[in-house]
Symmetry: C2
């Protein structure tokens, strides 16, 4: 299973939970990068529609990201206490039921196999070997999101064809296999240096990459390609909510929090995060299901203070321009950045 031959080593991150669209994935792939359809939170039928729609829009390959969730013990007392606290939140008219669901893994896996998606990536864990075998038998390349050396080793042992190396700068959920405090807090640059000499697998660098200089930097650090999420969230092809777009364009500081979903994710600091971060337990996707109606309603009324404003550390550099143009711009800037770095290094010799 070889790494795809892309015109530009630029990959759009999946962006589950709203911003991801087939139009975005297709625009990135048509421009010579690699687009991603985010399966997370979609009903399997909606995932099928999105894949089919993206296929109408591009003849280039694109990838699909699946959540791989395993149920772990949740502290029921902490979870109950958090739900009680959320009930008194001014934005919490309706709360959902806390529960574990595996995001329809088996059905979605069957679907990507049926539809012969060329690349499937996993987030939140590494599936067992038989999942890799089923995908590989169909000729599907399997990528696994990792945030630590141990995770990378496990993914390689299981048969991963590439590793998506997610640094702590990344917006949205941490892709850690387990959501322990302090786990997976290595930066993109740290991870690339540490992993590059431990594995021969292609590394896709994700987290904090916002411009062509950032793309150039991760390539120089040994990545095969750069994966950008937040950078695509202001494109017209993305379905990012209006209030979220406004926040991304601002200068707000980001932080990791479990307040919205029960799993650490990076977002722009807002009222909801400040008020609930300290009490939020590690209970994903239980808390996600509890706050989901609150966040949906807040998005609809444009209340940025009650939404999970997922954003990477460099969100202020996101641009409002077509995703295809953005890919071309990033590639051009990256080339210039490498040339100028070469000169800076060489001129001193």
């Amino acid at each position: 299973m070889t790494f795809p031959q892309l015109r530009h080593p630029i990959i759009q991150a999946p962006l589950a939970g709203g911003p991801s669209t087939p139009e975005l994935a297709a625009a990135v792939s048509n421009a010579g990068g690699l687009g991603f359809v985010a399966a997370g939170y979609l009903a399997p039928s909606a995932l099928r529609e999105q894949i089919e729609r993206a296929r109408e829009l591009t003849s280039e390959p694109f990838a699909v990201n699946l959540f791989y969730l395993t149920e772990v013990a949740v502290d029921q007392g902490d979870l109950d206490a958090y739900v009680r606290q959320l009930r008194s939140d001014p934005a919490a008219e309706h709360l959902g039921d806390p529960r574990f669901e595996d995001d329809g893994f088996a059905e979605k896996l069957k679907l990507v196999i049926e539809l012969h998606v060329p690349i499937v990536s996993f987030t939140f864990g590494c599936p067992p070997k038989d999942v890799f075998d089923r995908l590989h038998e169909t000729g599907i390349a399997v990528w696994v999101t990792v945030t630590e050396l141990d995770e990378a080793e496990a993914a390689e042992r299981a048969g991963a064809d590439a590793l998506v190396v997610q640094g702590v700068e990344a917006g949205g959920h941490r892709g850690t296999f387990t959501d322990a405090d302090g786990a997976g807090e290595l930066s993109t640059l740290s991870l690339l240096q540490l992993l590059r000499r431990r594995t021969g697998l292609p590394l896709v660098a994700a987290g904090g990459i916002a411009d062509g200089a950032g793309v150039a930097a991760v390539l120089a650090a040994g990545a095969e390609a750069a994966q950008l999420g937040t950078a695509f969230m202001l494109t017209p092809e993305a379905a990012t909510a209006a209030a979220h777009r406004r926040a991304l364009a601002g200068q707000g500081q980001t932080a990791l929090t479990r307040a919205f979903t029960g799993r650490r994710g990076r977002g722009i600091v807002n009222r909801f995060m400040r008020e609930h971060d300290a009490e939020a337990p590690a209970a994903y996707p239980h808390v996600h299901h509890v706050t989901s109606p609150v966040r949906r309603a807040a998005r609809e009324r444009g209340d940025a203070d009650s939404i999970n404003l997922w954003a990477g550390q460099t969100h202020a550099l996101a641009q409002e321009r077509g995703a295809g143009e953005l890919v071309a711009q990033l590639a051009e800037e990256a080339s210039q950045a490498l040339q100028s770095a070469q000169q800076r290094l060489g001129s001193r010799l």
Copy 2:
């Protein structure tokens, strides 16, 4: 004030508190990089000796780093409670007195001016304009360590000639102007991208850089030079304690903590950090003075569990080899990394 013409854009970080030696600074400068003498914690007379000794060992320029500390209000109750807790620590035979001291700033400033050190950098804050004026009048370039956009703007306004951009990956103390929770937690790569388009000042990238690929990455991201600290701590020229060396060569995870000094610093997680992190107040250098005898004694008896094992996220890549050879190796690797990144980008066009 122009950026120094270095044969290699590789700078040794100051490493106050033990590892820094005139031999290390001179070896780095002699190899075509830029060495640093760390003034922090030294008596002014010892600083004079170190500068003079480094001058005997090299005719190349080297720099001196000064702490710039301003006294801020400390929560006395929290500090007292922490000192009480430390009294029951098994390693705490003797505790020092909690107190503010400005690390002899005025005297050390006078000294670097008298000795015409070509470059002086500041950490922990940005001195008032008259300090810049005095240094500039003597022809001394002034660099300021920054971890956030606001700090960078303040330093530029004050007259900085270059910014040392310290990402959250860096070992040792965070260089934040104020030690607020969550402040200055941007990665090196994030900071470079955010700052590059806001300032024309040369940026020196620090934090998590461990090999030539890392050097290449920060140059590609727009840094004028890469500053490495932990990477030099296993060199024979460094005076790193034996127990600290052993920990650096291991795989231990790092974390930020105030446990040792009352200011967030990144070190390898050990017993002392685990037991005291939660209670440690923001009170620097008060807590530093309290724990200083504990740490000194622990270093002497080789007790790695009671030392501040300052280390950047990529400490496992530190090499036990001569500092000069290391500089040459980093430059060579960086050149290869840029070439291979160029090919990876270009081969897809």
